[in-house]
Every structure is written in structure tokens, then in C-alpha cells.
């Protein structure tokens, strides 16, 4: 069995990486390990876990800032924030169930390293937009830092952006400082039943471009809508459009009214309030509504939101598919029976007319080692990405090949 090193502090993390450099031992980096099955399988002789780097370093609610060691449990952080009615506004989703791990295991470092963001992403930004500063050990075994603890900072290259979404291929994160925001006082969801994808995408565009300041918009086809906590009255059915509004009570009440009027043509609307709206959004955010597990794979496509219906239409030709549109049409979750490179090419070809990228989020290791998990990059971008990798990890010991060959 592969051995796992679990350092207790940044100095030990550094020691471990220095040893790996000296002995040319590639390392599989992980936090709590809840996303080990995301990305290409890493061929490494040793695992290095940052789970031992644990604990909140400081949390200053009135400054909207929290700093923690990379291995700190996300649940612990969210609990501390909730006590002050604050949150991580990028709404980190929990893919535990999707990836065959227990839910609730994620660490802050893992969420940032995978740049995982939820339904609010198009309005509130991604994980990458909320990382203010970090400390990490690069592939030369050097302790480096970038950014800071303040909202506005242009001192040097913004290496925070590079860390977010680099899947541990550049450096092993040891400390992170993130921006936090107030929890909305009220959450509501406007539901329009029995609506076609074309009408839904038009409605989502209209809503997202309106002053209603929506905090989520999702279209669920009939089969998926039937599983969702839509609180449907008897007789309602068909696909559903749900739009989330968040904020202070008088504001949400006023925006619900103006949004319903704006979307009048799209069909009669009902409203879900607070707990009901939050429960529905948890299902959407953690992607628990689509068929997953043995025999199925899950793709995630990022695309221009107005093209949502068109791309969903193209994907509908795939046999036994299930999908849903999130982020006002800019994100499609697609569940398919296990397939190989042909399937990957078909999925990615659907994006060719509008642009975007597709990632294979959940699939067995055998597939992830043969199919490009992340969207292939053209030259000279591919070569540049490799040079960026080398600038942090010249000996390629950190999660080699997790994203791309050579990266």
C-alpha cells in the first residue's frame, strides 16, 4: 500500500517535499482526500496529505476575512462563519457523494485547489475570486507566499489565481486567507413549472440581465425535476425553471414581484421560501439530482449562458443522458453511461459553436486515465501551461499529470 505522509506544520511539509525532490519521488498531494477521484489519476509512490495542517488562524468578521491552515475542515470553517452570520459566498459544493467519498469531508485547501464554486458563481464569483492570500511549499521545497489579507491588493503577480484550480500541481498549500461575506437574511426561489429549455434560457438571460440581482438560476428537465424538492402542488409537472433571490427581506419581496412581472410570459410562477428554497438549492449545488455512481459518468460544461439551450439540445442526442442547466445557463451538468474517448469528443464538440470547456468530474479511474479529464488546450497555450508548471515545480514531483500530460 502506498504510504501517506501527514505533516503537522509547514516546516514538516517543506521537509517532505525537499526529500521528494532529493529522491526524485513523485507525490500525490491531498487534503482530506475527498476529491482524490477528481482529475487524472496520479502515478505516485508516496502520498502527502495536508490534513494535519489544521486550524483557523484568525477570523475577523467585521473585516470580512478568515485565515486557516490548508487542512482545516470546510465544515469547521462554515460553522465558525455561520455563528457570525457569514459565509463563503462562492458556495463551495460538496462532491463527496459524487466522487464516492463520504460527504462533509472537504478541506479548505482542497476546495481552493480545485476552484470549486456553486450556483452563485456567475454573480458572486468563484473560489478564485475569494482567495486573498496563501502560503505554500512549491516543488523546489521553498515556502512561498503571495497576496495578503486585504480586499484590494496589486502587489506583485496575483499568484492566488494560479493556485485556485491548479489541483496541487504547482505547490502544496499550507495556509489560505479568504474573503467572507454576510449570509443573506432571506432566501427565496421563484419556480416556473412546465417550461421548455429554450424558454427557460430566455427567461434566465432576462432575469440575469435585470435589476432583480438574482443569486441562482437553474433549469431541470422533467425526469430531474421529479426528484427535486420543488414542493409541487398536485397536477404540476414537466421541466422546471428555478430562480433564486437572496438579501434583506424588503428587498427580496420587492424583487420577487418585479421578477415575476418581468417573466410573466414564461408561465405562472410560484415561490419557495427560506428552508424550502435552501433545501432545493442544496440539491442543485451538490449535484445530487442526477444519476451517478457505478456505470455512469458526470460531465460539467462551462459555456456562454445564452447558448445553454442550444448546447443542451445537441447533448440530448446522446443516449440515456440526463442533464441540468445551472448558473443561468452558463453551466451544464451531464450524466451519461460510461463511455470512452468518442463520448468525450462528442461532448466537447457540442461546445465548438459557442466556446467553453468540459471536464469529466466523476468517472472510474480507468476512464480518467485514458480520457482527457480537463478540456484539451491548443498550442501555444499548452506549452505555456507547462512552463508555468515548471516555474513552480521544475522536477515535476507535485501531482504530476493530474491535469494534463506534463502538468
Amino acid at each position: 500500500m502506498t504510504e501517506t505522509l501527514k505533516p503537522d506544520n509547514a516546516a514538516q511539509l517543506r521537509e517532505a517535499i525537499l526529500w521528494a525532490v532529493d529522491s526524485a519521488t513523485p507525490l500525490e498531494l491531498m487534503g482530506a482526500g475527498s476529491k482524490r477521484r477528481l482529475g487524472k489519476p496520479v502515478q505516485a509512490e508516496m502520498r502527502l496529505s495536508t490534513a494535519g495542517l489544521d486550524g483557523i488562524l484568525f477570523y475577523e468578521p467585521e473585516e470580512l476575512v478568515l485565515s486557516a491552515r490548508a487542512g482545516t475542515s470546510l465544515a469547521v470553517i462554515e460553522q465558525a462563519l455561520a455563528e457570525k452570520r457569514q459565509m463563503l459566498a462562492f458556495e463551495p459544493p460538496d462532491y463527496g457523494a459524487l466522487l464516492g467519498a463520504a460527504p462533509g469531508q472537504a478541506s479548505l485547501g482542497g476546495v481552493i485547489a480545485a476552484n470549486l464554486s456553486g450556483s452563485r458563481r456567475f454573480r458572486a464569483g468563484a473560489a478564485r475570486d475569494h482567495l486573498l492570500g496563501f502560503q505554500a511549499v512549491n516543488g523546489r521545497g521553498e515556502l512561498i507566499k503571495s497576496g495578503g489579507r486585504v480586499m484590494k491588493n496589486v502587489s506583485g503577480y496575483d499568484l492566488c489565481k494560479l493556485m485556485a484550480g491548479s489541483y496541487g500541481t504547482l505547490a502544496a498549500l499550507s495556509e489560505l486567507t479568504v474573503k467572507v461575506l454576510p449570509v443573506p437574511e432571506v432566501t427565496a426561489a421563484l419556480v416556473i413549472d412546465d417550461i421548455s429549455p429554450d424558454d427557460a434560457v430566455r427567461a434566465m438571460n432576462l432575469a440575469a440581465g435585470s435589476a432583480a440581482d438574482i443569486g441562482g438560476a437553474c433549469w431541470l428537465p422533467e425526469a430531474v425535476a421529479e426528484r427535486a424538492a420543488l414542493g409541487r402542488p398536485a397536477g404540476e409537472g414537466g421541466p422546471a425553471l428555478v430562480i433564486r433571490l437572496e438579501g434583506f427581506a424588503p428587498s427580496v419581496a420587492s424583487r420577487l414581484q418585479s421578477l415575476a412581472a418581468l417573466l410573466g410570459a414564461a408561465g405562472p410562477a410560484r415561490t419557495l421560501k427560506d428552508e424550502a428554497a435552501r433545501a432545493l438549492w442544496a440539491e442543485i449545488n451538490h449535484v445530487t439530482l442526477l444519476s451517478a455512481g457505478p456505470g455512469r459518468v458526470l460531465w460539467c460544461l462551462s459555456l456562454p449562458p445564452a447558448s445553454g439551450a442550444e448546447v443542451a439540445g445537441a447533448l440530448a442526442a446522446l443516449p440515456d443522458h440526463e442533464l441540468m442547466l445551472d448558473q443561468a445557463g452558463g453551466l451544464i451538468w451531464l450524466s451519461l453511461p460510461e463511455g470512452g474517448n468518442d463520448q468525450a469528443e462528442t461532448v466537447r464538440a457540442a461546445l465548438a459553436p459557442c466556446g467553453g470547456h468540459a471536464a469529466l468530474i466523476a468517472a472510474p479511474a480507468s476512464l480518467r486515465s485514458t480520457v482527457p479529464v480537463f478540456h484539451p488546450q491548443p498550442q501555444p497555450l499548452r506549452a505555456l501551461s507547462r512552463r508555468v508548471k515548471e516555474s513552480f515545480d521544475p522536477h515535476r514531483i507535485l501531482n504530476p499529470g493530474r491535469m494534463y500530460g506534463g502538468v
Partner: protein, 492 residues
Amino acid sequence: MPAPHQDVLARRAEIVRQLSRIVPAGVIDSEAGMRPYESDGLTAYRQLPLVVVLPETRDQVQRILAYCHQEKIRVVPRGAGTSLSGGALPLEDGVLLSMAKFNRVLEIDYDNRCAVVQPGVTNLAISHAVDAEGFYYAPDPSSQIACTIGGNVAENAGGVHCLKYGLTTNNLLGLEVVLITGEVIRLGGKHLDSEGYDLLGLMTGSEGLLGVVTEICVRILRKPETARAVLLGFQTSRAGGETVAAIIADGIIPGGMEMMDRPAIRAAEDFVHADYPLDVEALLIVELDGPAAEVDYLLEKVEHIARDHGADYVRVSRSEDERQLFWAGRKAAFPAVGRISPDYYCMDGTIPRRRLPDVLAGMQEMSEHYQLGLANVFHAGDGNLHPLILYDTNKPGDLDKAEAFGADILKLCVEVGGVLTGEHGVGVEKRDLMPEMFNETDLAQQGAVKCAFDPDNLLNPGKMLPELARCGELRGMHVRGGKLPFPDIPRF
């Protein structure tokens, strides 16, 4: 600045000839013609470039960079030249690459809520282009009438609405970039997030050191239904700062939250006549935006919080004109200070907000030590401080004193947990202060990133990063025999 390459200076005529072949009507090599390019918004530094070239197409940019790469000629990219940190300061042996002719809005896509523009389009022109449909581009640096979006990308420009709406980096979707080799890469598009490393995020704020941006896709937002502002006056800056903290702790994220100290209030009032109170030590402008129901509700809350924290002056804007007037004073604060002092030097540190009273007190001591006046404007919501140091270039020694004063302020910002620059960039101005914030290893990593893009250090050298190690030296590693040197690390 890096010592000029004598061989490049010697080849000037040939370089001008080659550039004229690429851009027949876009090369300036006369001293008089190049004079307007000798400095940017940081006018204390001046240098004539080797030659100025103004390409009009991406193809020309590619050929210029490929030529300079091949001939090892340095290149300084430039937008409108409004940088306050010397980011566009020319080099004696460097080609000044002006992107001014890239001034077209290429596409407005309301369905996808974005606009595709060339880098020479001004920040405000983007908002103007989408205004009729009720949209705008959120980041609003004070220079927005003149500064270009390409420059905004290079500097990751901010403005007064950053806490709620983010900086440039949070409002970009895509970039087309020409690398120093002349190769083109496209990052992002009209969709969100990237398939690999977030090079879009890395490019933003890279101060022209990594590549030349030739096309930009920005997010546009629907204008809020209503905006109203309230002026709050306090007898101490501490009370003002505590009010800001209490507003945020109450779950309110205002569209804008600005603070001025007594000298800044006085200067702005004398200039703009915004009817600011003159008997307060700190003046806060808080702007709430959104649906009318929300704005009214929050204004009331903010008023209560402010009174609880000692505000003795409260005035809510009753009309759009009055709201604009509240802002007019703040937005004219720099020129207003320019009227009370022959020269001023604008600083740009960011601090954790709660340290404001300590930093203000520290700056007051420095002001007495250097015998130079000071006025302060402060993006209170995000902690970005703009102290304006008052001096007189014509007084011998004054500029040196102002620069030393400025450096002391920035060191203090870093000491209290803040940073050297919030939105103006490092440029030439703060390059040598980078070691205050970063150690050698941190800076070497930044240098290594530069090497991944520009190993010959041809793009905007001498800005942002102190002296770079040679790119080839970065792999170096001390080998220690491959023994496990960590008996203490838990293993499983």
C-alpha cells in the same frame, strides 16, 4: 532602471526602419514627437523611449514583438499613460508600444452580459456604449474618463465600488494575448472559469511584464434600480472607522463607502462646494444601491448605526443631483488638493480597516517629522488608503522628502498587516519596496513566473520586480543524498 543595452542604442536607425516596415504610418522617432510619451501619471520620472510605435492590428503587434524578441530589444507597452506608479515609464533602449489605436468596441452581447473590446478603449467608453440598454461596466478608477481598459487589465484597476463589485480581475471573462515570441493565446471567452491554469487571473495585474493584451471580454452588469448616498460626519476618525465596521458586521455591503479627513474635506469643499460639513474630523460617504425598497431600508439602518457610533452630522441625498454632488467632492479630492499645494504625491496602501486609527496617528507623526502636509482619502469599505503628501518641487529637497515620507507610509501599511499597493500598481515607484512585503524566495517565485512567459526579460523590465535572477538558474537544487530527513512527520 536596467542599464541600457548599448548595442541596441547603436542599432536605433535600423530598428526604426524595421518597425516602419511593419507599421508604415505608425512610428514616431523624432524627439518632439516622442516627448508626450516620456512619462505617465507619475510625472516625477521621465525618460524618452528609443522609438514609439502605434500598431493598429493584432498582426502588427505579433510582428513587432517577434522582431523585438529575435533582436533582443526591450518593449514597454502603454495604454493612456495614466499609471500612478510609473508602469508605462519608457526605457532609453526600449520600444514604446502604444495600444492607443486599438480603440474599438468590437461586440456587445447583452444575452451573455458581456462586451468584447480592444485594449485602447477607455474604461468609461465601455459603460457609455452599453448605457442606453441600462448596463454598465463596474470597476471605476478615478481616471476612468482617460484610462484604457488594457491599462486596467495590466494594473488590475479598482475604484470606489470594489467591496461590492470587485476589481478588474473579478469582471473579466476573456483575453487575447500576444506573447513576446509573437504567438497568440486566448484565455477564457464568454464563459466562466478556465479549463487549465487561470492565466487570465495571472495576466490581470501583471503590469505589462507577461504579454500584450489585444482583445478583452468584460462582464457588463444591469445598472441598479436606485442609488442613494448618505454623508456622515464624525469628531474622530476612530468613530468613522468603527461605523464602517459596524455596518459590515450588520450584514450590509454598501455599493461605496469612502472616508476623507479634515484637510481633504476642506480642500474638496473649497473646490466643489458640495456643502460638506467643515467642523468634523472625518466624513464618510456611504452609498446604497439596489431596488428602492432595499435602499430605503438599509439607509435607515446605516443612519442608526452611525448615530450609535457618534455621528453628529447625517445627511441623506434627496435627489440624484444631490447624490452626484456628494460624490463630486470625493472624486475631485485629488485636483482639489492640487489647488492647495504646488504638488502632491499620491500613495496607495491597503490596511486592515481596524488599524486605521493607528495608521493615521503614525502618518501624523511622519508629517511632523518631514514637515510636509498630508490629506487622506480612504476607500473605507476595502481598506485602501490614499494619503496625499503635499510638497513643492521647486523647494530643494522637497521631492526627496516626499518620497521618503511615502515609503515610510507604505512600510507602516505592511507592518500593520496591509500591502504596498491596492490599485495603482508597483511599477517603478514601489519596486524597491517589494522586499518589505516579500522575502527573497517569494520574489524568486514571482521571477520564475516571469521566466515562463519572457525568459529574456524583454517586456517592461525594471517594473514591479527587483533585480531578477537569470531564468536558467531557477532549477538549482541542493541535493542531500535522498535520505528521509523527517523522522517527526507522522506517516500512515
